[in-house]
Symmetry: C2
Subunit: 403 residues, 2 copies
């Protein structure tokens, strides 16, 4: 089977004209925007040219179907409000080239998927989550974006295209290629990441409540300053987590809200986000215990009321062993010593699809680890290497779970 690298790169560059930011190669193509729908229209033509049957499901996820049982490959073409040209678009266009080349070669059968709203205008990985039965459509319809629009209203813009949901039984497995979005491959000069699992996520809000006071007349020894509690918690947590984590574990305080938030008032309340990710469920639980214990100790020491929001938990998702083996074998053939096995620190559509069928992922490098930004990029040589690896793996990927 012969893939056409030039045709693949031309499709990738053509696609970035839809929602072009005018800044580098960046795109502005949020789910259901005019640019997003126009991009899917253009892709529909390319899918038909490749002999695929184009279908849309009720959410607006786009399908290019081969006949009979097929291997499903794809990702998503919607972008963050400030997005890169590759991100999920790479995985959709690579799937298109693989389906096209496979059809030209007489097999194996490859179908293409372009999920809707992976970037989470309405939640996270919305289109694949609904398809996988993990988010009921009637509930999803009530989710609102940051401008107050609900999903029901947004997806009405694609209602003239929508058909039924696609039967997962048509597919023997799912493979997604994506940019890494982290620095590991770029730093090590490797071209391919064979994903072992998608890490689990824990996410909650923590609130310290002390006493709001006048910042001029309240002596330091009398204060119950909620920002000081947050700062002390952060310092103690960083110290205590050292014995629990691995180099791949991450934890983040990304949002802080002080009340009342004035220069001249000792803050009485601090609410902040606490998120952590790891590939191991036990470690996620041990980290949670450290976080709760540390917050409790700081609250007691500083006379604070403490409250935790509900804990959001997404479990780690292991990639299918058979599909992984096919990718690893092809990577070693195409790029000897230019690949590694690694976890995915980000969520992807594959997290959801894995509930329906065997699923696997492959990464290509992100220059400087940059993503979700106009500056996101990958060397074209690495893009072509990724295409070649999946092309070489295709027979084994297609055979892994059939018959």
């Amino acid at each position: 089977m012969q893939v056409n690298g030039e045709r693949f790169l031309k499709d990738l560059h053509d696609l970035r004209a839809f929602g072009a930011s005018g800044v580098g190669k960046g795109v502005v193509r949020p789910a259901y925007s005019e640019a997003d729908i126009n991009a899917r229209d253009w892709l529909a033509g390319r899918m038909r040219d490749a002999g695929l049957e184009v279908r849309y499901d009720p959410v607006g996820s786009q399908w290019g179907l081969a006949e009979g049982t097929s291997l499903l490959i794809g990702s998503h073409t919607d972008s963050q409000p400030e997005g890169g040209w590759l991100d999920g678009a790479l995985g959709v266009v690579m799937a298109l080239e693989l389906a096209r080349a496979a059809r030209e070669a007489g097999g194996p059968a490859v179908s293409v998927v372009n999920f809707q709203d992976e970037e989470g205008r309405f939640g996270v990985t919305t289109g694949s989550k609904i398809w996988a039965g993990q988010l009921p459509l009637d509930h999803a319809d009530t989710l609102i974006d940051s401008a107050g629009t609900d999903l029901a209203t947004a997806r009405a813009a694609m209602a003239h295209l929508a058909g039924d949901f696609i039967d997962p039984a048509r597919f023997s497995g799912f493979v997604e290629c994506h940019i890494e979005q982290g620095p590991w491959l770029h730093e090590s000069g490797e071209a391919i990441g064979a994903v072992t699992e998608i890490v689990g996520i824990r996410d909650m809000r923590i609130t310290f409540e002390g006493e709001q006071n006048h910042a001029g007349t309240t002596p330091m020894h009398r204060r119950r300053d909620a920002f000081q509690a947050l700062s002390n918690f952060n310092t103690a947590l960083n110290d205590r987590l050292r014995n629990v984590v691995t180099p791949e574990t991450v934890w983040t305080i990304g949002h802080v809200d002080l009340q009342p938030g004035a220069h001249s008032i000792v803050p009485g309340r601090a609410t902040f986000s606490m998120q952590w990710r790891d590939r191991d469920t036990d470690r996620l639980r041990r980290i949670e215990a450290v976080i709760r214990d540390t917050a409790t100790e700081v609250a007691e020491a500083q006379g604070m009321r403490l409250s935790f929001s509900e804990l959001l938990g997404l479990e780690p998702v292991a990639m299918d062993a058979g599909l992984r083996a096919a990718i690893v074998e092809a990577a070693q053939k195409v790029a000897p010593d230019g690949w590694r096995e690694m976890p995915s620190g980000a969520l992807h559509d594959a997290s959801n699809v894995a509930a329906l069928m065997p699923a696997a992922m492959m990464f290509v490098p992100s220059i400087g680890g940059i993503s979700h930004a106009f500056a996101e990029d990958t060397d074209e040589a690495d893009l072509l290497c990724g295409l070649d690896v999946l092309a070489a793996a295709l027979p084994a990927l297609a055979a892994a779970h059939t018959g």
Copy 2:
């Protein structure tokens, strides 16, 4: 001279009917609100009954003038959006009782002032600052409140009352009684604070700028997390200031803004307020040096860009020695060992008036140090003690700077 404590307390309680919050004794009486203007109308009647000539200046500050040269006493009756019944209202009603009692006794001549917008709907101590020539009226007119209304529009509600500015040369000095707003007097069981100076304030915004990144795919060792820089700065600063400050020095981080402020994004920018107060200008400067050095070291160590806003500086204002001595002498007579000398950690109208004439302040206790809240209160015995001290001091206060 005989003050009437019962009449004084009745006036105080009558005044809190204007803008009564319905929660405890609290009031909602922001500058230029209907409740504020009605309270001033009612006070105008009480001033006229006391034989004073009622005038308003263009800003809406209210004056009850004695004939000839007089001692000026007063404060303000406008409140915070959630205010206590005493705060500045105490100083205005105490001035009314002193002027009334002095007139009944045949002297000395006391005038009353009720400044407008001390609480800073438009800035800080607006009415007295304009009167003292430290804020031009045409500039002040462009200041806007949190709802977007400008001062020019707000003061139009009192335009039918407004006359010229009052000539400061009419007054030999200014005395302001106010609740402490801090815990020192209440904690020590003392009734009277003779204010030595109003502390100086330094205030600025500091920004750490690192790199915004994906919170799942960016390993901890690669992050330039602006919140971590802020937390480290805070910890280091608290440690280093220990050798510089006194028990009365205060410093506050009351406002924090993280960008972009999302659970799943490593914050790329942290902008926060840094305010510190002390009675000594040299110490304010030493603290500033520690703050700038600490921020610079943290920024260098963590690869952050660092920027400081313009520094807002209000110098410490010493109270007039002659007026202070009169208050101290009376306090020792009325409440032996029940008083102390102390600085004011909060700004007051006296800060501005001191630029025009000799000025002094006296505090009474705040129960639990609470102010700017419906729960603010003071024992009535302490209110009466304050009235008695100024009554005893009045002859010396009036004589201190006249011919």
